[in-house]
Amino acid sequence: MTHQTHAYHMVNPSPWPLTGALSALLLTSGLAMWFHYNTLTLLYLGLLTNMLTMYQWWRDIVREGTYQGHHTPIVQKGLRYGMILFIVSEVFFFAGFFWAFYHSSLVPTHDLGGCWPPTGIIPLNPLEVPLLNTSVLLASGVSITWAHHSLMEGKRNNMNQALLITIGLGVYFTALQASEYLETSFSISDGIYGSTFFMATGFHGLHVIIGSTFLMVCLLRQLKYHFTSKHHFGFEAAAWYWHFVDVVWLFLYVSIYWWGS
């Protein structure tokens, strides 16, 4: 029986990169089939296989770390680098949408009326639901910090409560934003205003949903005693992601909702 003599993690061969890549093929070809031939089968298959891959891949990572002990300090360092680099890539993703917004809004063209918001567009009042949304996400930043400190201090009940509150605030934000989407007098096809508004806020909303899901997984793991006061990188990764989502909203609020109104 041979054992490794280093602290790194040599993973077992896994089928999930293959199923993940193929699910990406099904998602993209599924979109093409939906757009051009009005059929949803491939797209649904893509979504299903994508969800299955994500569930099993991350389930395996939990097994490797929590149950098999492979996440040594140096392995954890690599995971930290990985999460940071991923979030940086997401920052660049949003930078594109902000570039598009500022490109169009700083020098509004003649066909928009030479003004921003363009003629005929009635923007949402930034002091109503958008301001509430801002306070909801800022509060969730506070509650997640409370959760982290409770975890580090071994206060189990506090941690569970604070994490639940954070998730609740995330869900509240999503519900509020969904109702706002129904309230707008403009749609995504209402010129460049509609495009920039819904692409930027839409992708942000998707990230809130992703972040809330990540936090829910953390809550489940916390209830199952996976986290210790010293070792809980999964939770830290979720917290970093959540703070990123909060910061993107602040930029959205100031740029699109406030300055852009």
Partner: protein
């Protein structure tokens, strides 16, 4: 009367704490034993039969879907001639 109230309080407290203990017990050490068994099984199958079933379902859907996607591509590449 007051003693009965106090007794009632203790009973409800005890019942609640037993219930929550039943729902979320610390089973991490059992899982650690299962997943550290030296049986050569890769981590994605090491949990048991349900792992294998879920793996087979995922692979079948993915491979089947890929064949279907390539078929649709072939169909789309040769449009039917209109008369």
């Amino acid at each position: 009367m007051l003693r009965n109230l106090l007794a009632l309080r203790q009973v409800t407290q005890r019942t609640i704490s037993t219930t929550s203990r039943r729902h979320f017990e610390n089973k991490v050490s059992e899982k650690q034993k299962l997943f550290q068994e030296d049986n050569g099984i890769p981590v994605h199958l090491k949990g048991g039969t349900s792992d294998a079933l879920l793996y087979r379902l995922t692979m079948a859907l993915t491979l089947g879907g890929t064949v279907y996607a390539i078929y649709q591509l072939a169909m789309a590449s040769f449009p039917k001639k209109q008369n």
